[in-house]
């Protein structure tokens, strides 16, 4: 039989039409498309429109005849669908049945708007803090090596050694802050990252103020530098603080929802 090819509606790749009465899979993305003579209805209930394709037998089924399973790939979960035929169930044993009830109970669409706001507030604050640190490094290097006021800056062995080491430390702290700030968007981590964010923020603020005093920035010769740095720092801290408080509050609500779902479904010994 001559194999014809057709364009995949998903990726634009080639699909060899090998089966007229079964779905054919794209050579590239494995998306299923209908065979040329294939009926669009459920294999078992011909009066119902099919909604899923069994990943084992490639036949189409309605909701009643299918089972969703999740497969674990190094800690990440992918979903597959199989029909209830014995062979297909056996072939899908490597994946575990999906807990639909749990999914429904932990649905958190209610928090979408507030989460978007939290992500932007904490993220913006953390990005500004990062930019502050990046500008701070350049400013200090400029002060140290390109002006006559380097005497104000401390040193251990060589001019600029402490400046560079403490600037790198500040950058690391702000990178950690940024990472944590982005995690407030993940439901299960929101509460934890909100609290961690507060702790890191306090550490970062203390470090930055201490470093500024140690670098004698109060007597630095450029009049606009200190107000600029302090203004940017204060604004970032306020944003991250507000964001972390909101994340903690919303995260706690979600934490209760998760806990309640586990208790309801008997997934935990807690009561």
């Amino acid at each position: 039989m001559q194999v014809q090819h057709i364009m995949c509606p998903v990726c634009g790749g080639r699909i060899p039409i090998e089966h007229n009465d079964k779905v054919n899979r794209c050579e590239y993305c494995a998306s299923p498309v209908l065979g040329s003579d294939q009926n669009r209805n459920c294999s078992r209930h011909p009066d119902r429109l099919a909604v899923e394709v069994c990943h084992v037998c490639n036949e189409m089924f309605c909701e009643e005849d299918i089972e969703y399973r999740v497969a674990d790939y190094g800690g990440k979960l992918f979903t597959i669908v199989n029909c209830d035929k014995e062979y297909c169930v056996d072939e899908s044993q490597w994946a575990k049945p999906l807990n639909r009830e749990y999914q429904q109970l932990v649905n958190m669409d209610w928090a979408d708007n507030i989460d978007n706001l939290i992500l932007r507030v904490t993220g913006l604050g953390a990005v500004l803090m990062m930019i502050f640190e990046l500008v701070f490094v350049l400013s200090m290097i400029y002060l140290q090596y390109f002006t006559t006021h380097s005497a104000n800056l401390p040193m251990f062995f060589l001019p600029g050694d402490i400046v560079i080491v403490l600037s790198i430390l500040g950058n690391l702290l702000s990178a950690i802050l940024l990472q944590t700030a982005l995690q407030v968007y993940i439901h299960e981590r929101q509460l934890g990252s909100g609290i961690v964010l507060l702790i890191i923020l306090v550490a970062e603020a203390a470090f930055l103020i201490g470093r500024g005093l140690y670098f004698n920035l109060l007597i630095n010769p450029i009049p606009w530098l200190l107000p600029l740095l302090f203004g940017a720092f204060t604004f970032s801290v306020i944003l991250v603080f507000i964001g972390s408080m909101m994340a903690t509050a919303v995260g706690y609500k979600k934490h209760k929802q998760f806990r309640s779902a586990r208790i309801t479904l008997g997934l935990t010994a807690e009561r």
């Binding site: 794209c26 209908l34 040329s36 429109l49 099919a50 800690g75 990178a175 950690i176 990472q179």
Partner: protein, 475 residues
């Protein structure tokens, strides 16, 4: 005036209009060069320009440089006001040149000093040239008025990328019906508009349309042929039809292209992105399709989640690899160097021997000793010096790399916050077509945790699975 706003693109401008814009810009640029020369001459105290030089400079700047550059820049963008300005400026130029010719005649010449020489400029001829060219410009613009000055109710798309997409018909939106008319200006009849809107907005029996994977156009499902294929209304390719007739979760008007591999829900091409598949023989495709929520990893510890330590260790990894690369270069250099040195050493020893054999008198032995010392220097000092240079280079490069890495992390964070790091299948396709090559995809520094399966068995070995609750409890 038609009720529907009409649309044209930058590619609809006539060739003549483009040439007028370029010519005016050239005039402006030449006048700018002349202006700068004049100013330098005035500042340099060149005799002969001190008196009227500043006046000429101001006249040149206000009368030629600014109008030519500004009008020339805008006139070929199909801007009505710029075309009017160009006509007025052409008439003004003709008038000025004509007055000049009346007073000084066609044979008038200027001699202006240039360093040690004097340059003759036939200003009279230049005035005639300006009259002819500007008259041609004005005439052309007036005659071609309908083509060069779109009416105020016509929207002109000047962004070249979008314009190209519109011209090639690969963008299903904007949805203004007249946009899809053949010339972008013709007012379509109500029936035609409705028909096009039906295709775009989809009001079919099944209530769904298929988004073409080639051009992105939407073709109603009613056009599915008996063999379960569909010819795209826009680009004419023959598409297979997705196996299940389920609408997209986010766009019920479109047929879902396929499932999100993480959550299993159905989505169209606008709501899915593609990622590399896990390294696992159980996975059949070469792509993992992921919806926006799963891409963000909000619900499950699914494909993409961020990590506390990721950018930091990554930066140090990069720095470390840079160090080892420098070491590798040095090792390779030493290998090649020693291979060459073998011959150098052999040659030098022979040379030294021949020097020593040359006779027992004078300083011939000293010469041999010098040759040997030179060899030792070449063998030891050169690799040592190059090693030091490479090491210093690495020490300088690494802070730069670190800083650049942090800047990269910040940019990635901004993308995540603005939610622009999600590149859908249709966006990738459109970008690929717009630039004539497949869209470049770069793994996000902050979302690289998605490829966790590469660390299987190391990071998660022996740990209790954090996602157990997503599995149905087995007894």
């Amino acid at each position: 005036m038609s009720e529907e706003a009409q649309t044209a693109t930058i590619f609809d401008r006539p060739f003549g209009l483009r040439m007028i814009g370029l010519t005016q810009m050239t005039f402006g640029f030449l006048a700018l060069v002349a202006f700068i020369g004049l100013v330098l001459a005035i500042v340099g105290g060149v005799p002969g320009v001190a008196d009227l030089g500043p006046v000429y400079a101001v006249v040149l700047l206000i009368g030629v440089v600014i109008p030519c550059l500004v009008i020339g820049n805008y006139v070929d963008d199909l801007r009505r006001n710029a075309v009017v300005a160009q006509i007025l400026y052409s008439l003004f130029s003709i008038a000025m040149a004509a007055i000049f010719l009346m007073y000084w005649g066609i044979g008038y010449e200027w001699a202006f000093p240039l360093y040690e020489i004097s340059v003759q400029v036939a200003i009279g001829n230049l005035a005639v040239f300006i009259v002819v060219v500007e008259a041609f410009f004005a005439l052309y613009l007036i005659v071609k008025w309908n083509e060069v000055a779109p009416p105020s109710d016509v929207y002109v798309e000047r962004d070249r990328v979008i314009a190209k997409q519109i011209v090639t018909g690969i963008v299903p939106s904007p949805l203004t019906p007249s946009l899809i008319s053949p010339d972008g200006e013709t007012t379509l009849s109500d029936d035609d508009s409705r028909r096009i809107m039906d295709v775009r907005r989809v009001t079919t029996d099944e209530g769904m349309a298929v988004l073409c994977s080639n051009c992105g156009g939407a073709t109603p499902l009613t056009k599915v042929e008996d063999d379960n294929t569909l010819v795209c209304d826009y680009c004419g390719v023959r598409l297979g039809v997705s196996s299940v007739f389920v609408p997209c979760e986010n766009h019920p008007e479109y047929l879902a292209a396929t499932n999100c591999d993480v959550c299993g829900e159905h989505f169209c091409r606008m709501c899915l992105t593609a990622q590399e598949p896990p390294v696992d023989k159980r996975w059949k495709g070469s792509i993992v399709h992921i919806c926006q929520k799963c891409f963000e990893g909000r619900y499950r510890p699914a494909v993409t989640t961020t990590s506390l330590v990721l950018p930091i260790d990554q930066l140090f990894d990069k720095a470390g690899s840079r160090f080892s690369r420098v070491g590798g270069i040095y090792r390779k250099f030493l290998g090649k160097y020693s291979a060459v040195m073998r011959y150098v050493l052999e040659f030098t020893l022979r040379l030294a021997a021949s020097v020593m054999k040359a006779g027992g008198k004078g300083n011939s032995n000293d010469g041999a000793a010098m040759v040997l010392i030179a060899v030792v220097v070449a063998v030891v000092a050169i690799p040592l010096a190059i090693g030091v240079v490479l090491l210093l280079g690495a020490i300088v490069i690494i802070p730069f790399l670190f800083y650049a890495g942090l800047v990269g992390v910040t940019i990635e964070a901004v993308k995540i916050i603005s939610r622009t790091d999600f590149l859908s299948l249709s966006e990738a396709r459109e970008k690929g077509i717009a630039v004539g090559a497949p869209a470049k995809t770069k793994e996000s520094t902050l979302r690289e945790d998605q490829r966790d399966w590469e660390y299987r068995g190391s990071r998660y070995a022996g740990e209790r699975h954090v996602t157990e609750t997503y599995f149905r409890r087995q007894n």
